[in-house]
């Protein structure tokens, strides 16, 4: 009996292989997008963890100077001699062959266990004391004399304290790691080193928090795709259940109990879920491996977080992928199973009653939507990144839940105003089909809204960014000297070849307890003309010219709630008044701009090799040639404004490449969801369409009507997705961006994009409807006649 019943159930799939493909495809796509995003996130988090272990000594508390300056060796020794188990760290940046690399100098003798050097082998430690530099292979490749060590976190070079001190030209220590193990007695910190304060550890969480919004973005996309994929599965499972209704009925009539039938179906689904799960995981790996380099580039560009572009996967990831596939199947098939379990053996089909019950459910969904809307409002009230995402999630969910009821209302309005019998039937019938299509339409709504929202954000960002670049890049040519000793010769060489040389000198430091860049700005009128300030003193540039006060970027201002007129304490134990705040898109860390004289007077170790050149109306190409041929500067040390701009924009594009890719994928999956839903409906709808045919409509008419229906529903959904997408964009720009990145962006509208998306969504719906419509068109009359003659 069991075997026979199971065979009867499974024979369905042999007869309908396409349905099986849809089911497996939907489920594997859902799993793939979900697990792909998870893999990316996990890889990034792992890299943060490794980085934080090295940077922060593996979650140890630290001692830093209250004024942000370097800690003297005397302070360190005094602490050790008082019993404080602390270990010095020098933290700085060195210039590698391809970009900067963070250099950590450590003291192997006092380094707490499990810290950075934990990754090194014994022989390597000896090397460390001999002056060697160690780095992850990818980082070592960027440094001339580094030894590659696999176990180190990428982006960081490790050296002995003395080596680092020499390379970074510093005598003091950036911080002291406090060992977890401290002796039985020791005096208070204030008695020994009152200038120092204890800082809780920089852990993976800190970097994680910084990049949280990015990962949340990815996760949200992954979840969205997963949900959309589940709509497909729901469609396929629903279809399979619907078509096998007679089989179920017969099996039940033949004495198979409902629980056993459900058990068989669960087994069958489990089999598919596992199969699709494995496929999805492989696919997810592919997705992750393809996207990871972009993600890594984004994280490095935006946050300075080092992530390897390679994927290593834990067994837990595989298992979670399978689990999510099973959970997704359960979610998608739960309703169908429930109905099968409760089905009386000879239940008549009552499609309209079912539709009406669903319409009733729409009302409940509308209530839930209102709830979600309230939650979204509360999220706005709370503020912060979490609040922002609550607002975002609440808004999306509310809109998705309200969609069926809204569409139903629109359709019944249309039905009421319909005059012709066919259109009357069309609207009524479309409304009746809504329950079967609503999940797919919700998927389309979310995909469209996400596309509009993210697209608007990215485009607004791009528009702002390019405008800002145009203003900020004042010099026609940017030059990096080989050595600071060349400055006099360079200045002399350029004397008659340029209008002005603008030093771009900089030092890395900690401002208010966080890493920051401090730049010096020369006194030149071009800044006042070209540098847009968000808020400023009226006489900002005059004050800067007099060497009074400083400028800070928006990120620092927002993070520390600083305003013009406030005083900012700087490393080196002095403070200056804030003259103005400027926007600084794409920079994750704080930036301070000092009058150049102040920078030079206050700090050692300034990188003075970078200059901007104002050429005025001189020939830029000739100047380039002169610099290379006559002055002897390597070509790669020169970059002109246009190149710099395109380079900046290329970084920008890379940053959002992942978002774009996921966007397209999501839309594609939504299209697939519509296809499967329509196929499900098409099979179920034959009995409803056959009478119309008998009453005098051609199959072509019917096919055209089916196509039109899909187009109208897609158009309506798009119309609803547009305001939702714009709301989404506003939340992203005005709430999430401010919380996550520290800058607010103006919102621009791009109707061209909407049109394109509108066409795209119509195309997706048409493409999805074309197959069932074509099937209707080509359906042999015998199929339709069968409706009149066969038992249903």
């Amino acid at each position: 009996m069991n075997r026979a019943a199971l065979a009867a159930l499974l024979s369905h799939w042999r007869r309908r292989p396409f349905q099986l493909v849809t089911l497996i495809l939907g489920l594997s796509l859902a799993t793939a997008l979900w697990s792909g995003v998870q893999a990316i996130n996990a890889e990034a988090r792992k890299s943060y963890g490794a980085a934080a272990d090295v940077l922060g000594g593996g979650g140890l508390a630290e001692l830093v100077r209250r004024d942000g300056g370097a800690i003297s060796q005397a302070d360190f020794v005094a602490l050790r001699r008082a019993g404080w188990q602390v270990s010095p760290v020098i933290d700085g940046w060195i210039r590698g062959e391809a970009g900067r690399v963070r250099l950590l100098g450590v003291d192997p003798f006092t380094l707490p266990e499990g810290g950075s050097a934990g990754a090194l082998a014994a022989g390597d430690m000896t090397g460390l004391l001999d002056g060697a530099l160690f780095a992850h292979p990818s980082t070592a490749a960027r440094l001339a004399e580094a030894t590659a060590i696999d176990s180190l976190a990428p982006g960081i070079a490790l050296a002995d304290l003395d080596t680092a001190g020499t390379l970074l030209q510093t005598n003091g220590f950036t911080r002291l790691l406090i060992s977890d193990t401290q002796p039985l007695t020791r005096p208070d910190l204030a008695e020994i080193a009152p200038d120092l304060r204890i800082e809780t550890p920089e852990t993976a969480e800190d970097l994680g928090r910084l990049t949280d919004s990015f990962h949340l973005n990815l996760t949200a996309f992954g979840l969205l795709s997963f949900a959309v994929g589940l709509f497909i599965v729901n469609g396929a499972v629903g279809l399979a259940f619907e078509q096998r209704r007679p089989v179920f009925r017969t099996l039940r009539a033949l004495g198979l109990t409902a629980p056993r039938l459900v058990t068989f179906l669960v087994l069958e689904l489990l089999l598919f879920a596992l199969l699709a799960g494995i496929l999805g995981i492989l696919l997810g790996y592919l997705i992750a491996a393809t996207l990871l380099p972009d993600v890594a580039a984004t994280l490095r560009g935006l946050y300075g977080a080092s992530v390897e572009g390679q994927l290593t996967l834990a067994p837990a990831w595989w298992l979670s992928g399978l689990a999510i596939a099973c959970a997704g199947t359960a979610l998608a098939a739960g309703g169908g199973l429930w109905r099968v379990a409760r089905m009386t053996p000879l239940a008549p089909a009552r499609p309209r009653a079912w539709a009406m019950a669903s319409l009733n459910a729409f009302r409940w969904q509308l209530g839930a939507a209102a709830g979600c809307f309230l939650i979204a409002g509360a999220g706005w009230g709370i503020g912060g990144l979490l609040g922002g995402f609550t607002l975002l999630g609440g808004l999306l969910l509310a809109a998705a839940l309200a969609l069926p009821a809204t569409l139903a209302a629109i359709l019944s309005l249309a039905a009421r105003s319909a005059r012709a019998p066919l259109s009357e039937w069309f609207w009524a019938d479309t409304r009746q089909q809504l329950p079967g299509l609503s999940l797919a339409l919700m998927a389309l709504l979310l995909a469209l809204a996400a596309n509009i929202g993210v697209g608007t954000m990215v485009s607004s960002f791009r528009a702002t960014f390019t405008g800002w670049l145009d203003q900020r890049l004042v010099s026609e040519l940017y030059v990096t000297l080989e050595d600071e000793a060349d400055i006099p010769a360079f200045t002399a060489f350029m004397a008659d070849k340029s209008e002005a040389l603008l030093p771009i000198w900089e030092i890395e430091a900690e401002v208010l307890g966080a890493p920051a860049e401090i730049y010096g700005v020369a006194d030149h009128p071009i800044y006042a003309e070209n540098w847009p300030l968000l808020s400023a003193h009226p006489d900002t540039w005059a004050r800067m010219a007099r060497g009074e006060g400083l400028l800070i970027n928006e990120q620092l201002a927002r993070r520390e709630a600083l305003h013009p007129g406030d005083t900012l304490p700087l490393p080196g134990g002095f403070s200056m008044e804030i003259n103005g705040i400027y926007s600084d898109y794409g920079n994750p860390i704080g930036q301070v701009v000092l009058p150049l004289d102040v920078l030079v007077a206050r700090y050692d170790g300034i990188d003075r090799r970078d200059f901007g050149v104002l050429t005025g109306d001189r020939d830029l190409a000739a100047l380039r040639t002169a610099l290379i041929r006559d002055y002897g500067l390597p070509e790669e040390n020169l970059i002109d404004q246009a190149a710099l701009k395109s380079f900046s924009l290329s970084i920008f594009e890379r940053t959002f490449a992942v978002t774009g890719a996921l966007n397209i994928l999501t839309l594609g999956v939504a299209g697939l969801a519509i296809l499967t839903s329509l196929l499900t409906l098409a099979a179920m709808r034959l009995p409803q369409l056959a009478p119309l045919w008998a009453l005098g409509l051609t199959r072509k008419d019917l096919a055209r009507i089916e196509l039109l229906r899909a187009l109208i529903l897609a158009a309506l959904t798009f119309a609803l997705a547009l305001p939702l997408g714009l709301a989404l964009a506003w939340v992203l720009l005005a709430v999430i961006n401010v919380e996550a990145f520290g800058w607010r962006l103006p919102m621009f509208l791009f109707p061209g994009q909407w049109l394109w998306l509108f066409v795209l969504s119509l195309a997706a719906a048409a493409l999805a409807a074309l197959w069932p419509a074509w099937q209707m068109r080509r359906r042999p009359p015998a199929d339709l006649i069968r409706v009149f003659t066969h038992e249903r």
């Binding site: 060796q73 005397a74 360190f76 020794v77 050790r80 001699r81 008082a82 019993g83 188990q85 003291d107 192997p108 003798f109 006092t110 380094l111 707490p112 266990e113 499990g114 810290g115 050097a117 934990g118 990754a119 090194l120 082998a121 014994a122 022989g123 430690m125 000896t126 004391l129 176990s151 304290l161 003395d162 193990t181 401290q182 002796p183 039985l184 007695t185 020791r186």
Partner: protein, 344 residues
């Protein structure tokens, strides 16, 4: 791989596995370091200080103590100096401190490391001071010192005073360690009377007893094939002292010698076959088997004694691990003492 294992090797400047060049790399070639010279005679207080031209050196105090609670305690305080490269520059010195406290409740220990030249660790001969971090051995002179060290769950503060001169070991302080002639400069102060306080997280114990200082420096104290040693310092009830050690080599042979010290502090160096140290019983400590009962025979002095370790768990789980703890002496002579076993 953690910093612990790294520094084990780091400290002894040896990337090769332990044992290949003597225990803890002590059998490495001396290269350009100063070498012990049989003609050298100690000059105090200068020789209480460091000899950075030699590769390795230590200030080593052990004490057999009895608490007011009647319990037996053992204290170890050691400062090692190790040169990273010849030349004696302060920055090329690495300092390592070991503190041990043997108690009935278990063995407590701690260790410290310091880069030379920073003031974090060092030794000054007069007034005498040896330190690493907050651990101190200070006194007006080396015969009158206070000794402190602590770990996460113990601390000791001891006063040590001796009224007899320092005792040169070997031939006027030239202590030969192998048949090939590896040697060190070595003197001791075995006559300290000790009082002080042991501090635990929940209590303090007043203690008193006898202490023993070893000072030794060398550049290649072990032969290349020597893998470890067993070393004893005994306070006999007669007032006499016995220092003895045997160095074990890879072929199972030993090199055994020592010094008999009379009650007034006169050393009598022993020939290489005068003293016998024989394993009687072993105890499993961790995954190692260590001899915890020995027979000590010195026919020239009519000594046929058995030494039994007081607390077999006196294992120093430091980056260079070894066994070091108090022992009781029974047989023809009675007394207390300290045993060190390395290379197991």
């Amino acid at each position: 791989m953690n910093a612990k294992t790294i520094l084990t090797t780091l400290f002894v400047l040896c990337a090769t596995p332990l044992g290949a060049q003597g225990f803890a790399g002590l059998g490495q070639a001396a290269e350009a370091y100063a070498l012990p010279d049989p003609e050298t005679r100690f000059t105090f207080p200068e020789d209480h200080g460091a000899h950075p031209e030699f590769r390795i050196e230590w200030w080593y105090v052990t004490a057999n103590l009895t608490g007011e609670d009647g319990a037996t305690y053992g204290v170890q305080w050691t400062l090692f100096r190790n040169a990273l490269r010849p030349g004696g520059a302060p920055g090329d010195q690495v300092w390592m401190g070991h503190a041990g406290l043997a108690t009935p409740q278990g063995h407590l220990f701690a260790e410290r490391f310091a880069r030379g030249g920073t003031g974090q660790a060092g030794v000054a001969p007069a007034p005498f001071a040896a330190w690493i971090d907050e651990w101190n051995m200070t006194g007006p002179d080396l015969n009158t010192i206070t000794l402190t060290a602590q770990g996460a769950s113990f601390r000791y503060d001891l006063d040590l005073a001796a009224d007899r001169p320092f005792v040169p070991q070997g031939a006027d302080g030239y202590s030969v360690k192998s048949a090939e002639g590896q040697a060190s400069h070595y003197y001791s102060q075995p006559f300290y009377q000790v009082t002080g306080t042991l501090t635990f997280p929940d209590r303090e114990v007043r203690v008193s007893g006898q202490g023993w200082l070893d000072r030794e420096w060398s550049s290649q104290p072990l032969a290349g094939d020597q893998t470890g040693w067993d070393w004893i310092s005994l306070h006999l009830e007669s007032g006499e002292k016995l220092m003895g050690f045997q160095l074990r080599d890879t072929k199972g042979g030993t090199y055994t010698t020592g010094t008999w010290i009379t009650a007034n502090g006169t050393p009598e160096p022993l020939g290489t076959d005068a003293l016998r140290l024989d394993e009687v019983a072993t105890t499993e400590i961790g995954n190692r088997s260590l001899p915890t009962t020995w027979d000590v025979t010195l026919p020239a002095k009519g000594l046929e004694a058995r030494i039994t370790v007081t607390y077999p768990d006196s294992w120093m789980g430091t980056r260079i691990p070894y066994w070091e703890g108090p022992v009781a002496v029974t047989g023809s002579h009675k007394g207390v003492g300290y045993l060190e076993m390395s290379g197991y």
